[in-house]
Amino acid sequence: MRAAGIFVALAATAATALAEAPIDLDDIVLEDEDGQPAVDAGPPEPAPAPGPRRRRHGAGPTPRRGTWHLRAGILHVTPHASSGAVVLSGVAGPASLAVENGPIAGSSTDLTSITTPALLVGYAVPAWEGELGVETVLAPPVTFELRAKGTIAEQSLAPMVLDTVPTGIPPLGPELGRTKALPPIVTVVYRARRGHRVRPYVGVGVSYFHAYDATITNPILTEVATPHLAIDDAVSAVGQLGLDVRVAGRVHATLDVKALSGYAIAARVDNIHVRTPAFPLYESVHVGAVSVDVVARPVLVTAGAGVNF
């Protein structure tokens, strides 16, 4: 429980979710600056004629219209989450015989890594000779599992009443809960070496983390009542490195790495009731709430292939 979801947060994810409106790429129509279909959008034409709109540097001609790229691939998110101790608050009633408000020594939380299909969608703006663009990641909703670590997982949350009487409350184990996350990332990307087969790129951007459908799944925590897991939204800066390789024609392969400066995520679980098998007098106790502050610095690695158009 504790903190459960928390981490979730982390999600720094990068992944973005098209949860309820999956995008059919066939529906996407790209337009040029004049609003005409950019049917000829694609790989750069060879040897463009000199003119006033020639780029100041770079190997290729400055495109007349922006260029879209789409990469389908696999996204792997490593949360790199770290948390402080899980903090109890609002402890009252029989639970106060066993635990006190405050941090639980030796406790922490973590998030699991995820791997999911994803789309990298980018648009190179013509004003920068196609070298500067914006990019985002589209992916199905991602679900992070919240894990307990340390004493909170391995020892009873409230082993003894009044320091002497066993409560019968077992350790929670590693499972805490899960949450879906929607952390859209938008980066501004500079792709070097226009017209070359291999184009490295760098980017910077921002990510906004939003968790939803956060749920405590630990059977001990859900035996009596359903705790309420709330995870605050968070914002993080994003740094990006990548490599585009033109495989053939418009087809490119891409390896993209994004590192987030860190989400500072506050998570809180309320309405925690735990059955007390060794104290049938009370049946269960209301533990109150737990909270945890998680800092997640996710690294997103996407490998995929797609087209420019």
Partner: protein, 994 residues
């Protein structure tokens, strides 16, 4: 076609659709309603003065609670908060208290012994919002205990560990409310008090295991309560059996029908270890959320000493919790015996205002046996809801037995006592990380053997991990004894008492060899522990004039198991040896007077036979319904001659019921207690107010102790007519002494006791200080001759100078006797002898007789010559009731600020056996009126008995007229100098006996 900008709305839509997870149904908490009551529903053996407490979740509607009650046409109770007993609705007003006006108290109820009451609490009490109050049925039913003898009925067991006894009878189908745990002390409540002498562990009370082996246990007895506390927890056998045998008798001698109870203890331990807890009892002016009153204090209601509140000081107790998983929805705990709660001193002020020298110092309330506590689901809470929340916590039930001791030695001797079978109920709230048990319970405390103080205790015990309970390794210390070491006037039937500073382990103290009594040979004794007092009763009367040694060995231990330092006590019994025995005579009678009567009229039972015809007639005799007849003699009885009449006109002692014409209609049913020199008759169920009775003592008509006659130990029959002489066999016998009386209603604010002159020099009552008798500086009058007149030229008193410090020679007249007194309640602006004092307590003195030892004088009479060794013989001082009015005295604040008794004693002085010149000369010491103004402090003896030390405040003149052949020949003028008539009247010990 979708414009690219529509991608962001898609993301946003996805975001907007995210809701946090839905919560499940929250656990249910309490709704408005009742959460607690004391007594609890079904409680038995509720103390008669116990407060009724009902607590609620929310503030009550004061107007509804106090609106009063009535009975509807259908007999139903109409009202928001009502109590109905056997006599109808209880009219005592209720109070609203508690931290948020959520507690309703009925403070001053006086529950009728053995009666069942119903408490009706309607939803209107909570403004109609209560969800657990019935509109018709009573909320609580409880039954009051019975601390007085029922008489004529066999005692029955009314509760075992607070439950219906049937719950512990195999095959009954009944089950106890709480499980029996291996550490549970067994508490038995009976329908009436038991004779403690009949409760002998291993004999009439037995706890045996499945193999029939006796379990070592301490047996505590007090009133209608038995407590059996096994020395070790009951872990060695799956079943135990408590057997109460027919040898258990009530105070009327009726036997208990043998009964047995089956006990199958559940194990308390978790993995063989105890779950130790520490409970703190911290004083503070904080109202209890359960009980209304302030926590950790005892409120005492007692007109005798006024109302008092005694606060506890900081205390810590050790508790042991049973396996909380082993008993379903309850948790048993125990508090081991010997632990104590310290309380502030009890101010002992008569009537609450008149200080006495009795101080208690801090009081100690010790667990006399392992206390039992259960935490259980709140019975008023909807079972569908969670068992606990702040408004309606779980319930707590406490059962315990306590020993109360005082730090001051005299206070301890006077007030130490045990109170058994205390039941308290409360709520157990979780607060600040601890368990906080607020409970309320009633207990009746004995006050000096005169009164029972209703005490209501509010106790808060809080778990703590920051403290440790104190240990007790100090040996128990003797604070007083009776008799005192070296005493020489000990009654032969005395119950010997050794009082300690703390409670004693009854199991250890009653083992063979723990206490021994040795005279010429070892004397078998019965040892009983009452509070912190060892009561040692010889199984046979001691020899008179013999030396004994009482030894308390180190086998005697306190409740914590620490051995007492061996104590040795030497004493001698009173010496009755004499060459001039006198017949048995009464010193005091309640009701009545200690002499045969004549001269009865329609308004008076008459006057003492053979007194002057001008003597005052006595007012009609009356006896309160709850008091015994008490007959105190001036010397020991021959117990074998005491026969209680079983029909009109039979027996040497008769208590008969009369019809309006005065004819006997039968004997009164009751129990006659025979003491060394006292008879007490306790009527079964008390006297019927308004009914007529009489007490008759038959001594025969001659000097032979014949069958059916009451005789003294010297085999001389009872002398009913002391004014006709009381010197020798020739004075024995006489007309039956008949004392008619009418029973009066019992009164709760009058305290009757029989005081007696103590110590007494003339133990054999023959009017002479015999060789073996011990002179005393109290209970004597120093007589001085101040002049002569007429033919009496001179006179001198013989014998040792009673007051050596004066130039004159005084002779000592040693006084003996008894004086029943009745104390009233405090009054203000009392007028006494024409002066007004701020406060007083009226004390009615019963018109009894003081006997004085003979005085010897030499007189020189003209013509006759010198008369040597002229003896008054035994003197009789009769208290008068002029004009038939009660003889009143008063306890006031004395010069030292302490209680003092002031009395004017009108007396008749008689010397019925005095013969001058072998009867040739006469005297006027017959119905000679004298008046003695006396005053002196009301204090306490070292062994805790009330002691009134009186002395005459002014010289008492006494002119004895001598005559010969009816012609006056002169006067011997005597006086008792101021302060030299000293009477020390001592009450009985609170635990019985002298």
């Amino acid at each position: 076609m979708v414009h690219w900008r529509r991608l962001w709305p898609a993301v946003l839509i996805a975001t907007a659709g995210c809701e946090v997870g839905e919560d499940g149904p929250p656990p249910l908490t309490s709704e408005p309603g009742v959460i607690f009551s004391y007594p609890h529903d079904g409680q038995r053996d509720v103390p008669l003065g116990a407060r009724l407490v009902v607590s609620f979740t929310d503030p009550v509607d004061v107007a509804a609670v106090t609106a009063g009650c009535s009975l509807g046409a259908d007999g139903g109770v109409v009202g928001a908060f009502c109590v109905r007993g056997p006599g109808g609705l209880v009219a005592t007003p209720v109070l609203v208290a508690g931290p948020k006006d959520n507690v309703v108290l009925l403070e001053s109820a006086a529950w009728e012994a053995g009666a069942t009451y119903e408490v009706f609490v309607r939803p209107a009490v909570l403004w109609g919002k209560a969800t657990n109050l019935d509109a018709a049925a009573p909320l609580v039913r409880f039954t009051a205990g019975n601390p007085t003898s029922l008489g004529g009925r066999a005692p029955t067991v009314i509760a075992v560990n607070g439950d219906d006894p049937a719950a512990y009878v195999a095959g009954s189908g009944a089950t106890p409310r709480f499980p029996f745990v291996d550490f549970t002390t067994i508490r038995v409540a009976l329908s009436e008090p038991l004779d403690p002498a009949t409760a002998v562990y291993g004999d009439t009370v037995r706890l045996v295991d499945a193999d029939g082996a006796l379990v070592e246990a301490a047996l505590l007895t007090q009133g209608p309560h038995l407590t059996i506390d096994p020395v070790a927890d009951l872990t060695n056998s799956p079943r135990y059996r408590l057997e109460l045998g027919a040898g258990l008798h009530d105070l009327s001698g009726d036997a208990l029908a043998p009964v047995a109870f089956e006990l199958a203890p559940l194990p308390s331990r978790v993995g063989g270890r105890e779950l130790a807890q520490v409970l703190a009892c911290i004083p503070g002016r904080e109202p209890s959320y359960a009980a209304g009153g302030f926590i950790n204090q005892v409120e005492l209601t007692a007109p005798l000493i006024g109302d008092a509140t005694i606060a506890m000081v900081d205390n810590t107790l050790a508790a042991v919790m049973a396996n909380p998983a082993g008993f379903g929805p309850l948790i048993p705990l125990t508090l081991r015996k010997g632990q104590r709660l310290t309380m502030q001193p009890l101010p002992v002020k008569l009537g609450g205002e008149i200080a006495t020298p009795l101080t208690t110092g801090p009081l100690q309330v010790q667990m006399a046996a392992d206390a039992t506590v259960y935490l259980a689901r709140n019975p008023f809470r909807d079972p569908a809801r969670l068992p606990d929340d702040e408004l309606a916590p779980v319930a707590a039930y406490l059962a315990f037995d306590v020993v109360v001791t005082a730090s001051d030695a005299v206070g301890n001797a006077a007030l130490n006592q045990q109170v058994l079978g205390v039941q308290a109920t409360g709520l157990a709230r979780i607060y600040d990380g601890g368990l906080e048990i607020d409970s309320v319970g009633g207990l009746d405390l004995d006050l000096l053997g005169l009164d029972r103080a209703t005490s209501n205790m509010v106790l808060r015990l809080s778990t703590t991990t920051a403290r440790a309970a104190p240990g007790d390794d100090a040996p128990p210390r003797v604070t007083s004894t009776f008799p005192a070491d070296g005493a020489r006037d000990v009654p032969a039937d005395a119950a010997l008492r050794v009082t300690f500073a703390e409670g004693l382990d009854a199991a250890a103290a009653t083992r063979d060899g723990a206490v021994t009594l040795t005279g010429a040979a070892a004397v078998p004794v019965r040892v009983r522990v009452d509070g912190s007092t060892l009561i040692v009763t010889p199984r046979q009367p001691l020899a008179y004039g013999a030396a004994y040694t009482l030894e308390v060995s180190g086998m005697v231990r306190d409740l914590a198991g620490t051995a007492a330092a061996p104590t040795r006590l030497g004493f001698r019994t009173v010496d009755l040896a004499t060459s001039a025995p006198a017949p048995l005579a009464l010193a005091a009678a309640r009701p009545g007077v200690p002499c045969a009567l004549d001269g009865a009229t329609a308004t008076s039972p008459g006057r003492c036979r053979d007194g002057a015809s001008s003597d005052d007639r006595y007012a009609p005799f009356a006896l309160a319904a709850d008091l015994p007849v008490e007959l105190t003699f001036q010397q020991p009885l021959d117990r074998g001659t005491v026969t209680l009449g079983t029909a009109c006109g039979t027996g040497s002692v008769r208590v008969e019921r009369l019809d309006p014409s005065g004819a006997c209609t039968g004997v009164a049913r009751g129990r006659l207690v025979v003491g060394e020199d006292r008879l007490s008759f306790i009527a079964d169920g008390g006297w019927e107010p308004g009914a007529r009775y009489r007490v008759v003592i038959h001594g025969g008509d001659d000097g032979d102790c014949d069958a059916g006659e009451l005789c003294g130990r010297n085999r001389l029959p009872f002398n009913s007519d002391v004014l006709d002489g009381l010197a020798d066999r020739g004075d024995a016998g006489g007309a039956d002494l008949v004392l008619p009386f009418v029973a009066a209603p019992a009164s709760a604010d009058r305290y009757a006791m029989t005081t007696r002159a103590w110590p007494v020099a003339d133990g054999n009552g023959n009017g002479v200080l015999d060789a073996g008798e011990v002179a005393s500086s109290t209970n004597r009058a120093a007589m001085r001759i101040v002049g002569t007149s007429g033919m009496v030229r001179s006179a001198t008193l013989n014998g040792p100078d009673c007051v050596p410090g004066t130039p004159a020679r005084e002779a000592c007249m040693y006084l003996s006797g008894a004086l029943p007194v009745t104390m009233g309640t405090l009054q203000h602006a009392c007028t006494i002898d024409g002066a007004t004092v701020a406060a007083c307590i009226p004390v009615e003195l019963s018109p009894q007789i003081l006997y004085g030892t003979s005085l010897s004088m030499n007189a020189t009479v003209a013509v006759i010559g010198t008369l040597s060794d002229q003896r008054t013989q035994q003197l009789v001082l009769r208290l008068r009731t002029p004009a038939g009015q009660p003889l009143m005295s008063h306890i006031v604040v004395g010069a030292d600020g302490q209680a003092a008794l002031r009395a004017r004693l009108p007396l008749y002085l008689d010397a019925p056996s005095m013969k001058l010149l072998a009867g040739l000369a006469g005297h006027d010491l017959a119905s000679k009126p004298i008046t003695v103004d006396v005053a002196g402090p009301v204090a306490f003896t070292a062994d805790g008995r009330i002691q009134i030390s009186l002395a005459n405040v002014a010289a008492v003149p006494l002119a004895v007229e001598l005559s010969a052949i009816g012609i006056g020949i002169g006067t011997i003028a005597m006086e008792i100098p101021a302060g030299e008539m000293k009477m020390q009247l001592v009450g009985d010990a609170a635990k019985g006996g002298r």
